[in-house]
Symmetry: C3
Subunit: 455 residues, 3 copies
């Protein structure tokens, strides 16, 4: 009985050891506790990365479901391409900007095109694992934007934007907070990216949606807003379940270590915050309109997940429930405020879910952090305002929230403005009427189905 | 080149060790074989929990696909909310009732709101991992019921029920069998929950569907039954594939140990039983009606999975095929019996799949168990009737099946009866005609599509 | 507080050790670095197998989405049944043919029905893990074919075929390359199965589609081809994301070892090739037709994934991008060639994606392999033509590509011809018009929706 792995081992093990010497611990004949620890951490980090990748499917389904049928193939293409272009851009430039040698606390300047990944050393192999984990985070920030700009953005403009967010906008923020930059020096805590990933996506979406203007027919002459219902709520619901699933890679995986047993605590806080967010969003909309709206409840679960992403490794389960519960109320109010007061048309609620609730979650570290959780997870012995820590942590968090908003909104506006000038940003009214599937891609998403297009 | 994990390690490792002393093995500088084993078990248990979570998406898609388009958003909401409310209820009460200090073999009385989870000790961190694994099981039992009660249940009643099954009904059964209760003392074997999870869900669904009565138009005046076809078979098929995928967390994960190498055997028995169930269900319905019905075949795969859940760690691959094959035939006959003889309207076949096949799977341990498999997996050296074990194990299994049926059917009837009196259980005929999406949630699942509603 | 695992451990650990002696390392009281390494490898291999299983959902969604609504339930059934029948066939016969004791370098002749899996020994338990990993590969090869033969194949013929590909056609090729057969002796490298899995599926699909003839209405009297658009692009897009996700089990998992740290490198090459394939396919079709078609771009991502499957453990990230980029162009040209020149009707492009790009990926090892990568991963110190390795590796790869084409095309033709004679291969024109869902399964996929059937 032959086995692939054993065959390989038998033939190449000795060769490998002979040629490569002590660096080749991937093939150490005798496993040690140290080599096993590295393997556990690598396996955990990769599997977490794969779960985070699955969130691309989740975002694609949520955005597709909340859009109209005539724009479904377009939304899908955006989700596929922002990941594809983002992967190449992050390999080429982004990873180096984010984690390369620090320049004045602002950006990295080495490690481009995975130049630090050397397959013949342990450190080099870890670079590959770490890049894999980071690229799916970069792509998450990128893909959030497609929802806020859905149903009216020209496809070439979206490709243009996708490159820049993954190559520059996101990695700079990542460097500030996770790459040893100036916000890290200030002690800001954003364990898994409420700000780094979600707010960046949300604020870039706000910039894009503002510059684009609303969808044809979204606002009436008297300024009142029309609801434009999504065409496939089951797909949107599936997307939310997939996102929740992927978040178990996003948050617990951010230890990048399976031997850090706080992964268990983080999974629990993540799950409870999501549950609380769904419940409070449901009751909020129920109280307002007399019925528990499915779309808003789905967004409530996401709001809880986004909010717990920064504090997940620093707070207790009870605090996680409170953080998620606040996010669930906040997302409903924010969606209404952005829609009716700011009059920014955000078809899926991405700005509220990711931008606003990302900010709330980041701030919540300054309120709810408890040293016992942070010490165990490696975040450090941080106490928030409610646990005797004073205002200093809250101030560090606020500094991060504000500065990342300014950077992202400014640079994203610049990128979308450039896109507007170079390739054109907004689809024509005629194209919006027929649908972007026909206009941009020359096809239909649901051939054979009888569909009534609105507006 | 900085890495998040290394940065954290460098800064906090020494601090952590200094402050926390020997309990902080999450950050032990020197990994040992013992600390690595704990990490492997924690990583395995968490990843298995994430896979089981994904089954929520699977159930949501199966139930949505098998219902009509006008009730799709409602079904989704139920699936989202039973998990959300269930998570909070299981944190607050359920986990303590299930695994707390035993009271007369009947229920637990400590460990509420994760009071046993202390992030600064290894045992405390394991409590978090273990809770995470258990909460997704509790939620699985809860979510099964929404299928049996689909298309006619008022949403507030379902929320009411969701709390009680996750806080009391399920945890009491769990205590009896997994928490050191009276059925555990009798030697009953239900490795991953054919009875604890699936039959509880199935019997609670039977209680609910009986109290509710059939959907409008399901039965004719002469007592004959009308088939009400599901509206989206591709979604239902997707759901079955997701459930099958998640079951690889459900069954092998129930070792809660990755160093227990029987996880491999359990994966194999799980897969073969599902395959056999799909095949025999298909041929059964084919023989009856001349065509291999897709819906029934999908339920056949689920029937095999439910049946193998109790015996998966005690039987050989060949026995697993037989157990799954029997379940595939059984589910077809049971669906027909419940529909036509008992006249209980179960839109997705949940009572047959989870209740009946869960009972069959539990009994099958008493027939097919082999000591060599049980010793390896940790179930113990149990032999079933067909392998020289006599009738004693079969009797223990039967005791469990019957007592769990009585407990669940009685308490679920009580809960649904209370829901009926307090918030109302059944949607009006008018609401059923228009669909629960409009009636309960004020929205449509498929805006823009031309849909003919039946009945 | 009781825990299931601890309970089991406490009760059975000593019993187990006493009864089983030193072979029972699954329950070794004292974990060692060696026992932990086995556990890490088992956990990794099983989780990878579960990810590969999820590809069944991906294939089902891609094929369903690209077919017409009237054939959706039929496609689903084929995907469910080829996995179910394939699981039983691979257990009964296929695994033994593939990995059993070698006979003249051509096929294996032992290890049928998992006879080598003994739950009381470590080697036996590993056999179960290894079988689980291999069965999902066998089923992938099988399921590819349903796409090429979609919308016109009689269901009983497909069941007939499913058994033979999983029992004989695929395992023989597997033996040649992974089971120590004649191609392995020639030094052919196909790390994760561009040829073993994907080309076998693609060429079997070519044989089937050729024998079947085109769908009713596909070709006009003047020989020109009609596009028949898929009915549900969101489902197809979801399927591609799921497949990409599952490929992270397919390729990195093929180390069958989590302590082989090249799993990180393989994840990176896999991801970059997929991204590159999507991008180049999009630009190719955009250049040809003026619009970036969503369906073709989705196939481009799959083309990149198929191509990188053979070289993933032997090439650099940059080479992976090139290999994927070439595949993205190739798949567009190949789809057009097969459709218009060969006039073989392949509704989902399976022959091009899996057959042609599988061949390209296999050959690319002979061009791009670098010893540093292969040594680290265990493939061995192979250099391709572009890295100073001369033509010998390329020739070994070409030998494999050609011989597998001949074997698969010939045997699959034989099987489909037998199916034609015994149960009938092609659905009648009337059945194709009404749809195979009604004709083969007596049901509709989308009850209640208004659907216009084409042709």
């Amino acid at each position: 009985m032959k086995r692939k792995f054993c065959k390989l081992r038998k033939v190449w093990l000795l060769v490998g050891l002979f040629l490569l010497g002590p660096t080749a611990f991937a093939f150490a004949e005798e496993p040690t506790s140290a080599s096993n620890q590295v393997a556990i951490n690598t396996v955990w980090t990769l599997i977490a990365a794969f779960l985070v990748f699955s969130m691309q499917a989740g975002f694609a389904m949520v955005e597709t479901g909340f859009a109209r049928a005539k724009n479904a193939a377009n939304i899908l293409m955006k989700n596929l391409l922002d990941f594809s272009i983002g992967s190449i851009a992050f390999w080429l430039i982004g990873f180096g900007v984010m984690f390369g040698a620090d320049t004045l606390g602002l950006f990295g300047r080495s490690g481009f095109f995975l130049g630090t990944g050397d397959p013949s050393t342990g450190d080099g192999l870890w670079q590959f694992a770490y890049w894999m984990f980071q690229v799916v985070f970069a792509a998450t920030a990128a893909t959030i934007v497609s929802g806020a700009m859905a149903e009216r953005t020209r496809f070439p403009a979206y490709l243009f934007y996708s490159f820049f967010i993954s190559a520059f906008i996101y990695p700079v923020v990542g460097h500030w907070i996770w790459g040893g930059g100036w916000l890290a020096s200030k002690g800001m805590v954003d364990f898994a990216g409420s700000t780094v990933v979600h707010s960046v996506g949300g604020w870039a979406g706000l910039a894009g949606a503002t510059l684009l203007g609303p969808r044809l027919g979204k606002y009436n002459k008297d300024g009142s807003s029309n609801a434009i219902p999504g065409h496939n709520i089951p797909l949107a619901g599936l997307g939310v379940f997939i996102l929740w699933f992927g978040w178990f890679g996003f948050n617990p995986g951010s230890t990048t270590s399976g031997t850090n047993l706080s992964i268990a605590t983080i999974a629990v806080t993540t799950n409870l915050a999501a549950a609380a967010g769904a419940i409070t969003a449901m009751f909020t909309i129920w109280a307002q309109y007399g019925k528990p709206d499915t779309s808003m409840t789905l967004n409530g679960a996401l709001a809880g997940l986004v909010a717990i992403t920064a504090p997940c490794a620093s707070v207790s389960p009870l605090s996680a429930i409170i953080i998620g519960a606040v996010a669930g109320v906040l997302v409903v109010l924010s969606v209404q405020l952005i829609d009716r007061v700011l009059r920014v048309d955000d078809p899926v609620g991405a700005i509220s879910v990711h931008g606003v609730c990302g900010a709330w979650g980041t701030l919540s570290v300054g309120l709810f952090a408890q040293a016992a959780y942070g010490e165990s997870s490696g975040v450090g012995p941080v106490n928030g305002l409610f646990f005797g820590g004073g205002l200093s942590q809250l101030f560090a968090q606020l500094t991060g929230v504000v500065s990342v908003f300014i950077w992202t909104f400014a640079t994203a506006t610049l990128v979308f403005y450039a896109a507007k000038k170079i390739v054109g940003l907004r689809a024509s009214d005629e194209e919006q009427l027929r649908g972007l599937d026909i206009g941009e891609h020359g096809m239909e998403a649901y051939a054979g189905f009888q569909i009534f297009t609105t507006e």
